[in-house]
Structures are given as structure tokens and as C-alpha cells.
């Protein structure tokens, strides 16, 4: 049986709260990070790494986007969005001072509790690094509570690499290893070229002590989870973040169902052993 909260949440979660755009960063030619603050004097939105919000652009539509900022700053919500269609384009075109509607936070988060005292392997592909960034923030904010941190990050090409400054800053932290690779290199890129699984041979991992969190396109997560198992991690120690069509984010519209799971409330973070058989099913 799937778990549900024991007390039904009665505040209307279908109403967006107004948030003001305070900062816009162009991460790559098609990807932008927007920093939002609540319009009224509220405490912001406390969230767990891995949770997401529904972002509403007035009259255009809503987007399910993972919260990408620092959980220690609930008044500053950061969202990294890639412009691929009407709604995403409308969102990334917001300017400083514009208002955006925010609902949330929704969903299950990354297993930070289970990760205490253990090594954490974060494997990110493309924009999959955005939902994982709060994990890294959380670990670095509470360094003593966690073991080694290894980040394996694969991007499409050098100009698609996200958060360059942070990547460099993270690499300088104690007990932290950051490895980056791209699928397509170029002369100006002096880093690694190849799919993200090729980074494993450079990762200093102790599989028995490790918990893995992976996020990226579904194909990438399939081959990454296989590689994690080859590296010696157990399925119960691997977590992935899944994605499906979402309309309500609160388990009513039915769109995000993945087998028996509602990705909006049973996910988006899932323990790999629980959904491994589903990943193999075509057109599930």
C-alpha cells in the first residue's frame, strides 16, 4: 500500500501565491534561473530538496518545476527552466519585478535523512542537475552530518553546462569530488568528453557506504542506475527523480500516474528498487 498523509491538507493547494522575480540568470542559451521572493511578508516556502512547485504565468499556464535553490533560504525560491515551448518560454521571459504564481511545495524529497552519515553520489544529466542542487547545498550547509560527496555531471556540450561557478566552488570543498563531462566536446573544452557513466571510473566511491541520487532524462537514468549497480550499490540505496505530465500536482487530475504511483505525491523521488520493473516497461 502506498503511504499517504494521515491528516488531509485542507488549505486550498490549487491557489497560486504571488511571488516577485528578483533575479534572472542566463545559464545557457536556452536555460534560465529565476529567483523569486514572496510578495507579502510571509516566511516563504520551506521545502525539502527534490520537491517541486507549480509555477503560474498569468493567463498562460502552469509548469511543474523542481525547486533548485538553497533549502536554508525558503524566502528565495530558485527555479532553473529550459525554454522548450510556450509556457516555459513565457516563464523564462519574466523580468525582474514581474509577478509569478507559485503553488507548492509538492512531492517527496531526496532521502536526506537516510543519507546522514553516509557518502552521497549525485549523478546528474543535463537539467537534471537543477533538482539535485538543493541536495548539494544541504550537504555543504551541514557538512558534519554527511560523508563524502561525489558529483558526476554530464551535459550536452560545454555551453550547456549549468552552474559553472558553483561547480568550481563545490569542487574546492572538503571531502567533495566534482566530475563533469559533455557528450560533444570542442577545442575550447579541456574537460572530459563522453557519457556520464564514463565518469565512474574516476569516482572515489565506497559503494557499501554510499547512497546515490540520480536525475536526468529517463534513458540516462536507466543506464546510470545500471552502472551504479555494477559499481556495487544496492538498489535500495539508489534514488531517482521521475517525470510525467502534470496538471494539478495534488493527486486529483490523474495525469502523472506511473504504474500505481502518482508522481506528484508518491514521487517525484523514488527508491530505485520500488520502480525498477516499471522503468523497463515500454509505454507505461
Amino acid at each position: 500500500m502506498l503511504e499517504t498523509a494521515t491528516v488531509p491538507i485542507t488549505r486550498d493547494p490549487m491557489l497560486p501565491q504571488p511571488y516577485v522575480v528578483r533575479h534572472v540568470t542566463k545559464e545557457t542559451p536556452d536555460t534560465f534561473s529565476l529567483s523569486l521572493e514572496p510578495e507579502d511578508e510571509v516566511n516563504g516556502m520551506a521545502f525539502k530538496p527534490g520537491q517541486f512547485s507549480m509555477l503560474w504565468v498569468f493567463g498562460v499556464g502552469e509548469l511543474p518545476i523542481s525547486i533548485s535553490g538553497d533549502p536554508a533560504s525558503p524566502r528565495r525560491l530558485v527555479y532553473t527552466v529550459r525554454s522548450v515551448g510556450n509556457a516555459t518560454h513565457a516563464f523564462v521571459s519574466r523580468k525582474v519585478g514581474d509577478t509569478v504564481g507559485v503553488r507548492g511545495p509538492f512531492g517527496t524529497g531526496w532521502p536526506m535523512e537516510s543519507a546522514r552519515g553516509r557518502d552521497i553520489v549525485v549523478v546528474a544529466g543535463g537539467i537534471g542537475l537543477a533538482p539535485l542542487r538543493p541536495v548539494i547545498s544541504e550537504v555543504l550547509n551541514h557538512r558534519q552530518d554527511y560523508g563524502r560527496l561525489v558529483l558526476l555531471y554530464g551535459a550536452r556540450s560545454p555551453r550547456d553546462v549549468l552552474y559553472r561557478k558553483e561547480l568550481a566552488a563545490w569542487a574546492r570543498q572538503a571531502e567533495t569530488q566534482v566530475l563533469t563531462t559533455v557528450d560533444y566536446g570542442g577545442l575550447s573544452w579541456h574537460g572530459r568528453v563522453g557519457v556520464v557513466t564514463t565518469l565512474f571510473k574516476f569516482a572515489r566511491l565506497q559503494p557499501a557506504r554510499s547512497i546515490a541520487m540520480a536525475c536526468g532524462p529517463e534513458i540516462m537514468m536507466r543506464f546510470v542506475t545500471r552502472e551504479l549497480e555494477t559499481q556495487g550499490l544496492k538498489r535500495e540505496d539508489i534514488y531517482v527523480s521521475m517525470e510525467r505530465n502534470m496538471k494539478c500536482a495534488i493527486g486529483f487530475c490523474g495525469h502523472c500516474q506511473y504504474g500505481p504511483h502518482f508522481i506528484c505525491k508518491d514521487g517525484p523521488v523514488f527508491r530505485y528498487d520500488r520502480i525498477q520493473p516499471l522503468l523497463e516497461k515500454y509505454e507505461l
Binding site: A155, R156, Y184, G185, V193, V195, M220
Partner: protein, 152 residues
């Protein structure tokens, strides 16, 4: 020579090989060092050797007219560079660019081919290991081809 034999024996690529074969291999081996920025080999040149990378970084590059060279893969410590010495026409298909100072064990392909022809058991051990490398690279390349991070 002794040190070289030990390095070869301990290199992950040749792990599990009987010392008799390791000795045979050592007969074809030499230390190699490439300064950063130099080309270890270029596309079209005769492929007469392969390298066990001990340190540094090698970018496999392909050149096309009117285009800057494209890096299709990077190799580093522990990787094996080059299998074109195994099959006719024994010509390199890519450029191998040592982007930083790179140390490797160079194995003489012609020498090794001859020894493998004479000793099929050695040949089997060598091909077993190379085919696994080729399979892994092929899988990784296929995944690279999927361009999973591309815009929909």
C-alpha cells in the same frame, strides 16, 4: 625491463594474465611520455602500437573540412588507447591528442601481432580483453548518439 613487466602485470587491462604471457608482452613494451599539446598519432597514419595510459589525458579528435576538430571521447589513467593495430588496414581513424602531459606504456603492435600468431593462447587473452573494451566504448558511444539532453 623488470619494472615495466610489473607495471604491465598490475595494469587493470592485463589483470589475470599468467606471468608467462606478461613476460611475452613486456618484450613488445616500452615507456612513453608525451608533452601536453602533442599528438600521439594522427588519423590516417599507420597504426603499429597501442597505449596503456598511466596518467594524463588524451582526447580522440576528428577533423572535418571548414570545422574545428571535434572531440568524440576523452581517455585517462587506466584506459587503453587504440585498437586499429589489430585489424587491417592498420591505420588510425582518429587523432589522439595528449591535452596535458601524458605517460603511457607503449606496446608494439607489429611485434604483438606476430607473437599472437605464434601463440594463439596469448592471442585469445589479448583479443578477449580488447573486445570487451570495444564493446564498452560502443555502448557508451551509442548512448552519446542518443543526444538525451537535446531540446525536444
Amino acid at each position: 625491463m623488470e619494472t615495466l613487466e610489473r607495471i604491465i602485470a598490475e595494469h587493470p587491462f592485463f589483470s589475470g594474465l599468467e606471468s608467462y604471457y606478461t613476460a611475452l608482452l613486456t618484450g613488445c613494451a616500452a615507456n612513453a611520455r608525451f608533452a601536453g599539446g602533442t599528438y600521439i598519432f594522427k588519423e590516417g597514419e599507420e597504426a603499429n602500437e597501442f597505449y596503456l595510459i598511466r596518467s594524463g589525458k588524451v582526447a580522440l579528435e576528428i577533423f572535418a573540412p571548414q570545422r574545428k576538430p571535434i572531440v568524440v571521447a576523452t581517455l585517462a589513467e587506466g584506459d587503453v588507447l587504440g585498437w586499429s593495430w589489430l585489424f587491417p588496414p592498420y591505420l588510425w581513424k582518429f587523432h589522439a591528442h595528449a591535452t596535458v602531459e601524458t605517460r603511457a606504456i607503449m606496446l608494439d603492435g607489429k611485434c604483438l601481432r606476430t607473437k599472437c600468431e605464434q601463440n594463439h593462447d596469448l592471442g585469445y587473452e589479448v583479443l578477449k580483453r580488447f573486445s570487451q573494451i570495444v564493446a564498452q566504448r560502443l555502448d557508451a558511444t551509442r548512448l552519446q548518439l542518443l543526444d538525451v539532453y537535446a531540446a525536444p
